[in-house]
Symmetry: C2
Subunit: 516 residues, 2 copies
């Protein structure tokens, strides 16, 4: 500490400067929480139900609220409605015997669906939401059909979102170990029957069409920025911003926050979801700025699972890569390569320090521009490959020898890869593809959000309601948790609980029965 | 779905019942958030500063606030003051050239301490807090000495909390790989120089003595239960419960929440920290019920890192076990066995699905009642051991062969265990000790909590202050993150930021200078 002027002193100055900069954060600022209604100069407009966000969750909530007789206004911060849902594959995870499953002679039950969802994911799944979702899944799918979402009676056994017009596929990790031991696998990915990556747009066009028919308009380029709260804690309105300035909107019955997650809010990502923040591609519509979550927290809501996310390592398609092996920075395998790619992505992002490589042989290498991954090394020997990757000496060779020894007998004692994809690694050239979170096309979005009950009502950390406040979709901590075990859970959760929130905020029972 | 009355129907009924039970949560309840001051019938008492909690953080805050001239009241929900701090080892992580380090000719710098703390733990450490903590660490240690906390000029190189009267030791993972490559290791565990596990009690006796001398009383068996908030969002008082009923206490300058974490609140554990909730031993004083965190959230505070925790797999002492190897459920090694035991515990709890075994040989086995772990298997061959543990066929044998091959050359290419502990596993009997989170003595407490700035002021999710509200210690998301990389970070953080909060709530600058 005495060598003033030396490099240490420079370091010390740097530290002090940084600490000084950080303390700027301590500047006192007003208006940390929700705006007391006593400070609203005048309400510019009044409706029964105010919905922030026009994705799947907000749209379903608005639709059901309107059909229950409420006056409804939908706000969308962006110029184009639809949110992340319209950019997604449009998959809804449904089962337990949907009309489409039955038409295709697929056996399924709510119990098998429940067991899969409860056991294959996080250690603390939201049991109550999952139970209800499984029980009512056939009805929910029928409702989507009734809204005009087009589905074909076609199934595909291929892994990955169908690029043809098939409407049913295995969208998750049901067939991979250990999930296949938890419950009988069934295909539950229900996707609009349109060619290409157009499912989300198709889904949202149908739902928005219904919304228009019901007479509800979406106000684009209007962003909800602050909740207004009564002295008894009830949320009664909101401050919204648009090109014409700030307005105060009163919501007589309640507000539904459906603003998506926070993957595009860099500060929140670093603060709440550091593992996820390292993933290369924020994978959501531009509106996912965390506004809904932050407004809810400011009004006293609890937030759950804020560190969790969807993180996908899309090693397939093509499926010919699945006989290859995945290794971590220790040169060890860590998962079955036929797992759903978001289950693989979760392990890499959260459990393997963000680093992994796919080790391919002659047969399992990528062949074309569909590669999502940089080639990190190439060699005629495993030793050469390991050296280029700076893996621990001898580790990759040891891993491959062990793997090949059993694969040649049709066994994978460690991770039980399906025999459909199991064979020893064969001839060179061997290649290593970098599947690390910051190197590959590693898509990520957030799964944490506000605590809600089965009606989409927002809860405090004491488990009490915040009157007048609802939230749905990725603004909430819903059915999709980490690892994200199947495509369609997020849009499925948003539409299902969106509908329930819409009915309850309008005064109906959550299942649409008589007045609550 | 048609086999009414069969087992599936039973399952179905079970599901419906469970869903019905869950919906009880949806019952509307009043008072979700903080109490509006308009509903306070009358203030029963007024002080400048109200502190909830009498552990290290609350005590330091109260002490500095009182010395700055404020009237201060400290509430303690339990019958005995001291909180988790008095049950702890009493270690304060300090460095950068403390008086004790200098007296013992230990070389250290704030930069080395900073580099270790920033790089060895979570991917998103709180840089600003860590910077300030490292810079002011020598001063903070001098303050503790000035309060009468007794330290001896003795150092021990043994791993683990000194049971003799030594006051300085390597309390963290500084010497293990990869941390030892990040910064020059230095011993920074400063512990009161008393024999046995009495450091925490000794530390708190000194601090409570100062508090008494300053004329501040601790009101035991009085629990703060709800914050009172003005219409402008300012926190102005609290509702407290005791044997004489409910009282309303006004805090003219502010409230300091210092109520510890939430490891003893089972609902919160399952909801916020599911990985941690599986650990066998909640390791904190009985007051760690999450009240402070919940009150803060209800007042609009952001909460951070709520899933993170301290989880310890105390494989040492004795140190003779460190030459053994740790394996996960795949039969693979996953960490260097000479890592700090909370770094090992974190990996097991969060990255290895909660399961691990210590595989010992003749020399490395536990010999006495100091074992914290059940013996899971014993055999004269690794194959026999693996079979008893149901490990993947051939995996443990493969791991041991690889490990021994390099260990016999004095190398550990995978995890770089220190040569002090590195040798091939030798003769039988081989034993496997179950280090799984729910089998071993696996101690855990929470590290997540309220977002605060460098002054202990509580922040909303928008980064704005909640006026009048402060929090310190494990009620906040502070310096200790997961993995918990060194003993003394929690008490160090609580005392350091407790002092700052005490000065600021009383109206001084945080470093104790003139009025802010």
């Amino acid at each position: 500490m005495k060598d003033e002027g030396g490099p240490k002193d420079l370091n010390r100055r740097r530290l002090l400067l940084a600490a000084g900069a950080a303390s700027v954060l301590a500047t006192r600022a007003p208006g940390a929480v929700a705006l007391p209604s006593s400070r609203v100069p005048a309400w510019d407009q009044e409706v029964d139900v105010l919905v922030a966000g026009s994705g799947a969750g907000g749209t379903c909530a608005a639709l059901e609220a309107r059909r229950a007789g409420a006056s409804v206004m939908v706000l969308e911060s962006l110029a184009v409605p639809g949110g992340s849902s319209s950019l997604s594959g449009g998959v809804v995870y449904a089962g337990g015997g949907t009309a489409l499953q039955r038409a295709l002679k697929i056996e399924d039950s709510p119990e098998a669906m429940f067991d899969f969802l409860i056991r294959a994911g996080t250690p603390n799944p939201p049991r109550d939401k999952i139970q209800l979702y499984c029980e009512q899944s056939p009805e929910h799918f029928a409702w989507l059909v009734a809204q005009g979402v087009p589905y074909t009676e076609k199934f595909t056994a291929d892994k990955g979102l169908p690029m043809g017009d098939e409407s049913l596929y295995f969208s998750g990790t049901e067939q991979a170990w250990p999930a296949r031991d938890y419950a009988r696998p069934a295909p539950r990915g229900h996707v609009p029957g349109v060619v290409g990556m157009n499912g989300g747009r198709t889904l949202m066009e149908a739902l928005h069409g219904q919304l228009r028919a019901a007479g509800v308009k979406i106000r684009t380029r209007v962003a909800m920025k602050q909740l207004v709260i009564e002295s008894d804690g009830r949320v009664s309105g909101a401050v919204v911003h648009s090109s014409v300035g700030k307005k105060y909107l009163r919501a007589r019955r309640g507000i539904v926050l459906a603003c998506g997650g926070f993957v595009h809010n860099r500060d929140m990502m670093v603060q709440y979801a550091p593992h996820l923040s390292r993933c290369s591609v924020p994978w959501a519509g531009a509106g996912d700025q965390g506004d809904g979550i932050n407004m809810g927290i400011a009004a006293g809501a609890a937030s759950l699972r804020m560190h969790e996310g969807f993180a996908v390592a899309p090693i397939y398609p093509p499926e010919n890569t699945i006989p290859a092996i995945l290794v971590n920075a220790s040169g060890q395998r860590f998962i079955s390569e036929d797992s759903y790619h978001a289950v693989i992505g979760h392990s890499i992002a959260y459990q393997q320090q963000g680093k992994a490589w796919l080790i391919t042989d002659q047969e399992s290498a990528y062949q074309s521009v569909q590669d999502n991954f940089p080639l990190a090394a190439k060699s005629n020997s495993m030793g050469g490959l390991a050296e280029q990757l700076s893996l621990p000496r001898g580790a990759l060779q040891n891993t491959v020898a062990y793997y090949n020894r059993y694969a040649s007998k049709g066994e994978d004692p460690m991770f039980h890869k399906s025999v459909d994809y199991l064979r020893p690694l064969q001839g060179p050239p061997y290649k290593a593809w970098d599947i690390s979170v910051d190197r590959a096309f590693f898509a990520a979005h957030t799964l944490g959000g506000l605590a809600t009950n089965l009606n989409g009502e927002v809860l405090s950390s004491f488990g009490e309601l915040i009157p007048g406040l609802f939230a749905v979709g990725r603004t909430t901590a819903g059915i999709p948790t980490a690892p994200y075990i199947a495509s369609g859970l997020s849009v499925g959760d948003a539409t299902f609980f969106g509908r329930r929130a819409g009915r309850v905020v309008a005064g109906l029972a959550p299942d649409g029965g008589g007045r609550a």
